[in-house]
């Protein structure tokens, strides 16, 4: 009998590709963002609203992930931003290989910012690195206060939480204070920004946050 001792990460393949991607983003001075959240949280809407502001600070491109349709890519295309739609055909998260393949269709050398909008899902994407620098998770107020604690891994691994649809606060039973408390109990390094795509509140702040991150990445990698 023979025993082989390993400590092999089962997701090693994905992590190796993610690391290669991250290295190439650093070489090119590109900030890569993994945009996460439930279906309907407002990932595409928030992105649509801040794209114009982000474009002022550099060149950007988007990779859209969905099971089916190119509906989200069409919305981004209407903003005159290069976009690639990845359809997983059933897969509930994007992985690093899919990003690597999608980048073949974009001019990656020229990019200051790459936003990858992940499949709507608060579970699986948490485990799959895409080579990103920032994980931005959208949590909409209509999803309820219990979501951070029900999906702790996703929120623990995020860098920025965007609390969306705050214009609806007068009509629903959601406490922003409680949400912030729960979120920070999972990860006390989290930044939290409240926005509304309907009224525009908070979007300038969000744009500024991401623009600062882009500038920092550009300086780091110069």
């Amino acid at each position: 009998m023979k025993q082989i001792l390993l400590k092999k990460n089962v997701l090693n393949n994905n992590n190796e590709i993610a690391e290669k991607l991250n290295n190439s983003f650093n070489e090119q001075g590109t900030l890569a963002i993994n945009l996460l959240g439930s279906p309907g949280a407002g990932k595409t809407s928030v992105l649509e609203k801040i794209i114009a502001g982000l474009k002022e600070s550099g060149s950007l491109a988007v990779i859209e992930g969905d099971l089916y349709t190119a509906k989200d890519a069409e919305r981004i295309e209407a903003q005159q931003v290069p976009v690639v739609q990845v359809n997983t055909g059933g897969g509930c998260h994007l992985d690093a290989k899919m990003i690597d393949n999608a980048l073949e269709h974009l001019d990656r050398e020229a990019l200051d910012l790459l936003v990858v909008e992940n499949v709507g899902n608060l579970v699986c994407p948490a485990s799959y690195n895409l080579g990103e620098h920032l994980r931005v998770t959208i949590l909409s107020v209509t999803e309820g206060n219990d979501k951070p604690m029900k999906y702790p891994a996703m929120f623990q691994k995020s860098d920025l939480i965007v609390i969306n649809k705050i214009d609806l606060l007068p009509y629903i039973d959601f406490s922003v204070e409680e949400a912030r408390k729960d979120l920070l109990s999972l990860n006390d390094k989290l930044d939290v920004i409240e926005v509304s795509c309907t009224t525009g509140e908070g979007l300038d702040h969000l744009t500024q946050y991401l623009t600062n991150a882009m500038k920092k990445q550009g300086e780091l990698c110069a």
Partner: protein
């Protein structure tokens, strides 16, 4: 989570290592699964039972070792147990977000019969 996909990738790692180390039949596999990964043990077993019969691990025993989450306190230079929401060092009370255990999805060991094995003496090699 993707218990089926995890087992599928795990079996690919097993096949590769068995080729490399001339193992012809796997008898035992040990996995370390961190509690923060939210991988369901029973679902993992179910996936293994479904996929392993067509692999070199057919009939093998799957041992799943759960790894409790821990963080590291820089001030006290010690590891301590944590939960998703409780991450304060028991000694100094300061919170640490430096997670050192609990996020593993590791294949730890493969035990099997070598090709052309004539005796049952155990050999061990480390990667």
């Amino acid at each position: 989570m993707h218990e089926l996909s995890i087992v599928s990738q795990m079996l690919a790692i097993v096949e590769e290592n068995c080729r490399e180390h001339a193992i012809r039949q796997v008898k035992r596999l040990v996995m370390a699964i961190g509690e923060f990964t939210c991988v369901e043990k029973e679902a993992l077993r179910f996936a293994f039972d479904s996929l392993s019969p067509d692999s070199i691990a057919a009939g093998a025993e799957l041992v799943i070792r759960s790894v409790a989450p821990k963080a590291f306190c820089e001030g006290c230079q010690q590891e301590f147990s944590i939960t998703f929401t409780e991450k304060n060092c028991p000694t100094c009370g300061i919170r640490s977000q430096k997670i050192v255990a609990g996020e593993e999805l590791h294949l730890e060991s493969i035990e099997g019969e070598e090709e052309n094995e004539t005796d049952s003496s155990e050999k061990e090699c480390t990667e």
